[in-house]
Every structure is written in C-alpha cells, then in structure tokens.
Symmetry: D2
C-alpha cells in the first residue's frame, strides 16, 4: 500500500496537532513536507515528527508532484488563496477555519473545489468530539423526536489580549464561529435568522477596541427550531463546552470533560474536577478524528464530513450576528448571503 503524502502549510500549534495525528494515528498517510514563513518553525516540526522536507515557502508543497493532500494551517487571511492554489495543483485540501472573512472569497474557493473535483474539508473539529457527536447522533437518529430547542455554551478559560481581540475580527467570527457550526450540525439544517447581544464585561479594553467579550446569540433554524449560544472570553473554572438538544421525545445534553472522575468529599463539600484546560486538551481526540475521516474520504473517494458549505455558513452567521449587534435588530441570513 502506498501511503498518502501530506504537506502541511503552517507549523504553528494546529499544524503540529495535525502532524501528530497523522504520524501516530493514521498509518495510511505520512507528512512529507512542512512549510512556514518562519523557517525555524517548519524545521522544528519536521524534526519532531521525522518529516523529511521543510521550507519557508508553501509553493514548495504546491509544486511537489509527490504530495497528494495539503493541510492549510497558516494564518486566516491566507487560507483561501493557499487552498485555491493547492486545489488547482490537483491536491486535496484540508483548510482550517475560518476559510476567509470575505463571503465572496469563500465562494471562490467553493467554485474551484467543485471545478477541480478535489476533496476540500473544513476544520470544524468539534463535530468529531465524542460528547457533542453523541448528542448530534441522538438528535439526528430520531431518539429526541422533532428538534425544538438547541443550546450551546462555550466559554474560554482566559481572555485574549485586547490587541488580539481587536485584530481577530471579533468574538463572533473568532470564537463563536465554532458554535455557529455546531448549532447547524446539531440541528441538521441551516439558520434563517439571528439576533445578537454582546457586551464587554471581562476586559474593558476589549470593549474599547470595538469588540465584545460576553455574548448571547439566538437563532431561528430553517426547520423551525429555536437556538441560543452563549459565549464568554473568560470562565474562572476553565474551558466550558456544553451542548443541549431538546426535542419532542426528550433531551440530550453533555457535560464538560475533566481529567478524572474523582470526587473528593471533605468538610468543604464534594469537589470534582474542573473542565480540561483548553482546546488542545479538551478537543485533541476530535482533531485526530477529523484527520482520520479526511484521509478516509480521499482513500475511499467519498464525501468529506465537513464541506465548504459549513465553511461558508459559519462565516455568514458571524457576519449576521455582527450586523445584528450593530443595528440592534434581528437579521435574516438572506440579508447577508443568498442561499
């Protein structure tokens, strides 16, 4: 069996996560080149995982005829162009989210993917989480009946710097984008309207920089169900990641993962573990699983589990939320993007 040859563009945190998954958990694939504008980063990843080639130019991957698939793990503004270049070079692409902040640009990526017939998967890893996926299965297999209410709580352990918040595009696209995708994943359909509340309660400087750090967004789904997402940039007890689906036959809800199931009973109460620290701890299993399914989709020539529609709609929802906040009114998705 020939192994699938993978090139990784971007040797940051998420590039390393994917390199680890492929090297240790996906025997059918191997990382053969990594690039990063900071060549030292590429070199370090290459050494860590025994990757034979590295460079500071992603075109070295695009131009390498041995490479079957490209993982686009570079900064957000470059996702779309690198994806397009890779697709046009005949490579399958795994692109981190968000694909781009411009809807036009995302549509362009979609068009190229369609024309080239190459696989294009978007990095919404939380769809592969053991907890959330189980809730989704119960929602989609009929156990819960008709879906009526979806609730998502997503809170980070620590706020970013005000500088980062300012440059990130804002909470809705930087943070809540995962929850928008999760909402549609759980509902099994798109959203038709959003109403956004947002404020700065965690760090005044985030508000001064024009962003929010605490937000509640409500959703109306195409299937008639209602939804609500709440986000905070800082939870004192750690990374809070919970979803709940309520339907005509019942409810499925997950709880946070701790490092252990131990309960300590003392004079102070019965104490259990806090949630696992942050996304690398909490979602590591999901990163590996999304990569396994990407590789499997290439091998078996089947549909990828998360396509460009998810990449597009999550950004559309983020834009609608921002517009809703700015204009202080509910916003229809059709105002942002015709279906």
């Amino acid at each position: 069996m020939n192994k699938l040859n993978i090139g990784i563009v971007g040797a940051g945190r998420i590039g390393n996560v994917h390199a680890e998954s492929i090297t240790y958990h996906i025997p059918q694939a191997q990382v053969v080149m990594v690039t990063d504008v900071i060549e030292e980063s590429a070199k370090k990843l290459a050494e860590r995982f025994g990757v034979p080639k590295y460079s500071n130019n992603y075109m070295d991957i695009i131009n390498d005829p041995e490479i079957d698939a490209v993982l686009v793990c570079s900064p957000t503004p470059t996702h779309a162009d690198i994806s397009i270049a890779a697709l046009k070079a005949g490579k399958h692409v795994f692109c981190e989210k968000p694909v781009h902040t411009s809807i036009e640009k995302i549509k362009e990526v979609a068009k190229v993917a369609e024309e080239t017939g190459r696989k294009l998967q978007i990095g919404f890893n939380r769809r592969f989480d053991h907890n959330h996926r189980h809730v989704q299965q119960l929602a989609q297999n009929g156990t819960l009946g008709n879906i009526e209410i979806i609730k998502i709580t997503s809170r980070d352990p620590e706020p970013p710097s005000p500088e980062y918040a300012a440059s990130s595009g804002g909470l809705y696209i930087d943070m809540m984008i995962h929850d928008f995708d999760m909402a549609m994943f759980l509902a099994g359909c798109d959203v038709k309207e959003v109403y956004a509340m947002g404020t700065s309660l965690v760090d005044k400087r985030i508000g001064e920089a024009g962003d929010v750090d605490t937000a509640i967004v409500t959703l109306t789904f195409e299937n008639g169900a209602l939804g609500v997402i709440d986000n905070s940039r800082r939870a004192a007890y750690g990374y809070d990641q919970r979803v709940e689906v309520f339907g005509s036959l019942g409810m499925a809800a997950d709880e946070n993962d701790g490092d252990s199931t131990v309960k300590v009973s003392t004079v102070n109460g019965v104490v259990g573990d806090k949630p696992q620290f942050f996304f690398l701890e909490r979602y590591m299993q999901s990163f590996t699983e999304e990569m396994k399914q990407f590789i499997a989709a290439i091998e078996n020539d089947t549909d990828v589990p998360v396509g460009i529609h998810a990449g597009l709609m999550s950004v559309v929802l983020a834009k609608a939320a921002k517009k809703s906040l700015d204009e202080h009114r509910p916003v229809k998705i059709s105002e942002i993007c015709e279906a």
Copy 2:
C-alpha cells in the same frame, strides 16, 4: 401567644397548598375562614384542614374583624380588587401571581398597600426553592463575582389544552412570568430590554389560538449582565427547572430534583430518576417557605421577601416580551412602563 388568623380566598389547588402549610408547618398562624364562589370547594378545604368557617363570599373574610391576613388565591382577574379590599380593611395580603394583567391596576394595588401600610407579598414561590435560592445566594454573596450571564430553563411536563392556552394570556404571562421574576431575583436588579422568540412546535392548535408553546427570550439587565430564558410547554422527561448564573469568579448551576438519587446500571446504560413530576411535587417546600416568611414578616413587622415591585416588573417583562414577539424587535422596558 395569640395565633395570627388567616382567611383564604379561593379554595382551589393553591388555596389548599397554603392551608396545608399553615395548618401543619406554621404554629403561629391558623386558617379561620375560607371562601370560594363554589361553596362546596370552600367546605371541602375547611373540612380537610379543620377550618371553622367557610362561605361563598370573600367579603365575609374582608368584613371579619378577627382576621389578620388574607391569602388571595382566587382567579387572576380578581387578584387586584380583592387585595385592595383586604388592604383597605386593614388586613395583610398575600397575593398570588400575576397580580393583574393591567399595569395600571397593579400600580393601584401598590398605592393602596403603601397608603395602608399593610404587608403585601406576591406569590413567587420559586424564590424560596432550595436549589434556586442557593444559586441566588452564591450570586448575591459575591462567590461568583460580577454577574455576567444568567440562564433559566423552564419546561412543563405536559401542554395545557389549546383552550386554556388561548385564555391564559399566553405563555409569556402565564408561564414565563415565573422565569422573569427568577431572572431578576438571580441578577439582583431589574431588566432594561428584552427580545422574544416564540413559536408553536408542541401543539399546532396552540399556535392557531394565537399563542406560542416554545420560546426563547433574551434579557439585558440593568447591571449590564445578559440573560436568556427558554420555555417549552412539554418536556417528555418531565418538569425541567434549572438555573445557571455565570460571573467573573465562576458559575453556580442547579439540576432537577428527582424522587431518589438511585442510579440503575444495566445493559441499557446508567439510568437515574426523571425530574419530579410537576410544580406541586417539585416546589412544595417553596410554597411552605414563602408562607413562613410571610407570617414572619407580619409577626416581626419586617419587609416581606417579595413585594409588589416584583409583581409589577414580572408583568411588565411579559408584556415587553409579547410586544417584542409581535413587532419582531428588541423592546426596552421603558416602552412599557416608566420606572
């Protein structure tokens, strides 16, 4: 010690609940008269709890100089007038919620209470619930830091008949009114704006009757915190009553009470109890506690724990929610009622 003499107007379900609390759990008070327009109901309550007098006319209570306090447990449209009559007769009043559906009328009750200097407590029993009250204490004593997000889930086990739904004033005032009050109780302040979503997913006939059976309402509090309430008229697993307060130092959340803590592990999974069936089971302790505190406030001449402001603001929020739904936009509280 002379016992406080209580008259109960209305011998329905809630009148019986209060009679039971006083008879069995509040030695300082005794029920001396009960009235109901259906005299047979008054008679039955009187026999059940050994109440010496009953009649079909609430004026018999108002005119009885031996009676110190009146519990207004009659149908909603009569709450305000009976309360006013009782207050003017020099009696303390415990009035079931909602006080009235007219804001002017509620203000009139407030005015009479102020003029007469009698105690006036509103029947928001959930404030006395062992779970919710514990969350509120943690929110108000600083354990959770600054309050940032409040979430309330409230779902009934079974929908009412479409006829009832139509005549009840609608979900926001009939059902969510409890959650509006709970929201302000947890936040420790009033609400300044609401945005309401509502739809009919449980029973089409409820929608045809002009009401909703599934709803999400978001709140902006005076202190800057955000909130969200979700309601459903039917939860397959029973009466779902949960609150969550998130603040700068952490989160407090309660879970439903079941009839036992037993977990049964079989080939089918690990199964725990469903929530207790409905409000009489779930909130019985809170009904007794609110009555104890009402009696104590009279005895000690201290402030009642739930005053007319709560009675007013809960109705204001319900009206704001209905307006928000009708006009499909966020509605400021000041549009409904000047502070």
Copy 3:
C-alpha cells in the same frame, strides 16, 4: 371517623419526631398522652404538639382505655418490658430499635405479640427512605436479576463521646444494627454467617473503652449472595449513607442527599453539596413514612411492614459480629440463635 389514639412513652428526640409525624402528617391518628420519667420533657412535647395529657409514668398510658397504640421511645433497656405491658393491655405497639440486647427478651416480646394478636412494629426507619427503598424495590422486583453482592456504607458525621460509646453496647449493636437490618431488607432474606473487622482509628479513647469506631463486616446471605458493610463513627464530610445491590442483570446504587443540587464551578473545582447533616435531617421523610404505615396496618388490620423478626435478627447479627471480632473468625448465625 374516630381518630386512632396514640400514647408516646419517652419524650426525647425520637418521641418528638413521631409526635410531629402524627400531628402534621397523619390525620387518622392523634397523640393523646405522652410520658417521660423527666416530666418536664413530657410537658414540653405536649405543649409543642397540643397533646392533652402528660405524666412521668408510662403506666398512665398502659392503663388508659382510650389509647389504641403505644410508641415505645424510651431508653433501650426499657423497650421490651414496656412493649410487653402495652401488648398485654391490648394496645398496638411501635417499638424503637434495638428491642433489647438479650435475645431471650426479644423472643419473649415476640411471644406476647403473637399471643395478644396486637400489631408490633420495630423502628427500622431506613427501610422507608426514598433512596434505599428504591434500591430495594429494584432488587426485589427482578430488575437486577439474582442478587450477588450487597454493599452498605454508613458513616456518622461525628463520633460520640467515649463514655457513650462504652455504654452503648458497642458499634455493632448501637450503629451497625441499622445496616444489618438494611442488608437483610435489600437481600430479601436472612444472613447465615458474618465475619467482623473492627478497630479504633477515630478516637483512641473509644478503643480504650473496649469499643471500635471503624469497622468492616462481611456477610453471607441465606440465598448465597455476599455482602459487606463499612462503618465509621466520623466522616469529615458528614453523614454518609449509601447502599449498592449488584445482581446478574445489573446494579442499583444510591448516593447521598444534599440540601440542594447546586454545583459551584470556580477556580477551585466543581463543588457540590455535602450530605445532609445527620439522621434527623437525612431520614425525616422515613420517620414519617414508617409511622404512616404503622397506622395504616392498624386501620386495615394488615401486617406491619417491619415485624419482630427484623428486631430479632438485627440483634443476632450484632452479637455474631461482636463474637467474630472477639474470636477473630467467621461466626455462623446458628451459633448465636437457632432459627
């Protein structure tokens, strides 16, 4: 309807508990006399619950022809003789546990009960607890299949004084007697052999007084199942009361009751309530329920739910455990008492 007239012998803590249950929760019965060797105690109980008569002599109850049933709540050494006197006077008897520390004496009580045909119920209130009873129902209704292992944990919040421990008859008869009864209740059969371990780890003086404060006792049941009980006189986190039944089809286990279901998540972890403080808080519902069923057994002339066999076997097990500890070997029940 004539109310059943109840006399209470002993106006201590448990006498008050039963008086409260009857006065507030059992309309078919009323307490008409209370006696206590300390007349002031009897008077206080009488005043608290509106009992018309009190005295310092239990014979006043025995000789009162109006009294239908007697609750024997006096100190342990007097249980048997008072019960016998009451039975012979034609009264039904509810006797607190242990009936006596002499097996012969317990058998005498049994004989008198049989001869007089009066009801005789023993005060093993934990059988009526909402949690343990639910486990027992699952064990006895076949949900768990054949019963194979039974585990009981029972730990007090605070140790008694060494003086009390010395005079109480020791941990096995003073504390574990409840667990012996619970074990047989859960198993649905008697025990045929015990092996006892015991030591003094909580308070040296308890050991010096000849008693143990920490103990594990294993049981072999008549039906072939195995069991284990662990006791401690002091749990830092409070009153720990848990049972577990494991069978061929699964397991049922209960958890402690707290005052609320609230979980507080902070930087220190996720903290839940400690168990309710001690037996009066934890088991109040069970005290009322046992009394309701005693009264119902009299009214309906049906079997009492906890008969003298339970009173006898629990003491037999305690004696077997003590013998096992002393002789450091497993002890057959038949060594203590022929069936």
Copy 4:
C-alpha cells in the same frame, strides 16, 4: 540522541499494546525486535509497527547486544525465566504480571535484578490510570488525613470460559491480583492479614472447576487501615472499576469512565453511558503511561515506579486469600511469606 532499543517477547494483545505505546508515544525508544513462539504473530506485530526484526525464539532478543530493554509479554509461566535471562544478559526488564505463581521463583527474579543492577518493572498498569492515580495522590499527599478504609470494586463485563477459569490459577491470582496491588498502592503500605469469601454465582461450571466467580476479600493494612475488595466475573453493565479511600479528613472516590458525558432524558429516565467496555478501552492511557515511566527510569537511572516488591506481595496476597477461602479463616500474610 540514541533511541533506546526495545525487544518484545510475546506478540499477543499486551505485546501489541506496548509496541503501540512505544512507536507512537515514546520518541526516545523504538521496538527493534519482537519474538513469539507463533512466528506469524511476531511477524504481524512487526509489520504493524515497522519493527525491523522478528523471530519465534526469545533468545534472539536476549542475545542481541543492541537491545537495551526487554518487555516480557509471554504467557505467565515463562515470565520469570525470561526475565532472569534478560537481566543476566544486562538488559532492563519490564515484566507483565503475575511474575510467577511461585513465591520462590519471584524471589529468585528479585535476587537477579538486585545482583545485576538492571531496572525491573512489573506491569501493574492500573497504578497509572488517571482516575485511580488521582485518588492515590490525594491519599498520599495528606488531603484525606490518616487513611482508615479502602474500598475497591472490580467487575469484568463477561466471564471467561470455565476452562480458562480452571487453568488461570483462579480468580484471586488471575483477576483480583490487580486489586491487591491497587489496595497497597492506595494505602501506601503492605497488608498484614486477609479474609476471603468466594462463591460461584455467575456460572456454575466455574464453581465445578474449583474456582469462584464472585468474591469479597477484606484486608488489614500494616498501617492499621481496613480494606475490602469485591470482584465479579460478570457485570451486565460492563467493566466496573472504582476505588474509594476514606480518611480522617475526607474521602476520595472515582467513578467509571464512559465514552461520553452525555445524559439522555426521555420518558424512560435520565440515561448516561455505561462504563467503557473492557480493559483495553478503559486502561489504554495507563498502559502508555507505565511504559513512558519505564523508559524514563532507564534514561534517568531512577527507580522504576513499580518494582518487584509489588510483584511479590500481590501474589502473596492472592495465595493468602486462597488459603483463607480454603480454610475458612483469616490468614496472616506472615503465614505465606516472611517479610
């Protein structure tokens, strides 16, 4: 950096587990040879993990001067001799449990290890489990105060065949050996006496073959604490693995790991996941962790985390338990083996 070269004797299930840990999770080491008496098994493992050499003769590993450490994963009767041969050849040894069923033989292995100064670690993987280890840390770091009671529940999802049970040496050495080691790990000291109960309730044929399938064993620890272990060969709900340590300051207890934290609430109750299926699922993390620490002990020339004393005492306890069952009396450890 030169990688540590590992040889694996025995290409069965556990040999594959260790090969996977080293290949994917321990960059400082590499598997360079695998042997199995069934050469095809060795070949398959070699191919699966890219191991360069394989054979059907473990002496090929012993005689290979390039190999630094040997993992003894062959059938139990061969553990001791292969370990001795490897140690004498100057290699570090990781030996699966039990080391041998003969205490003399285990002592011989210990002697050789001491003489050669090579590392010798025993495969008690559960010490590395995230849950149990957390309990042990709380027990050993003083959080729980003086340890007083230790409870261990360990139940398999499915019974072995009666043939296996007969040939395995019996439940105490085949299954409970893990729990004996866990008990001493949690207590931080050895055991001085055991009392064993055992019976055949799961499969009569296991009893007919002279073994038990349901067992409770109580322990007296050197430090005065009491302990109890319960085992069943079949739990309908899956692999049940729980420990509890109770001390003067409180209790730490763990719960089973499920595949998710999802709770499904329907008309049937609130259902959570069953425990993970069996030891490969439940304890995979611990297998990797024990191997990491073995490699680290070699690299850093520090003590191994689980030495031969644990290998010896676990077998001693199993023998004492069997003797206790046979002779129906408590058995002192000193009867089996002088310290």
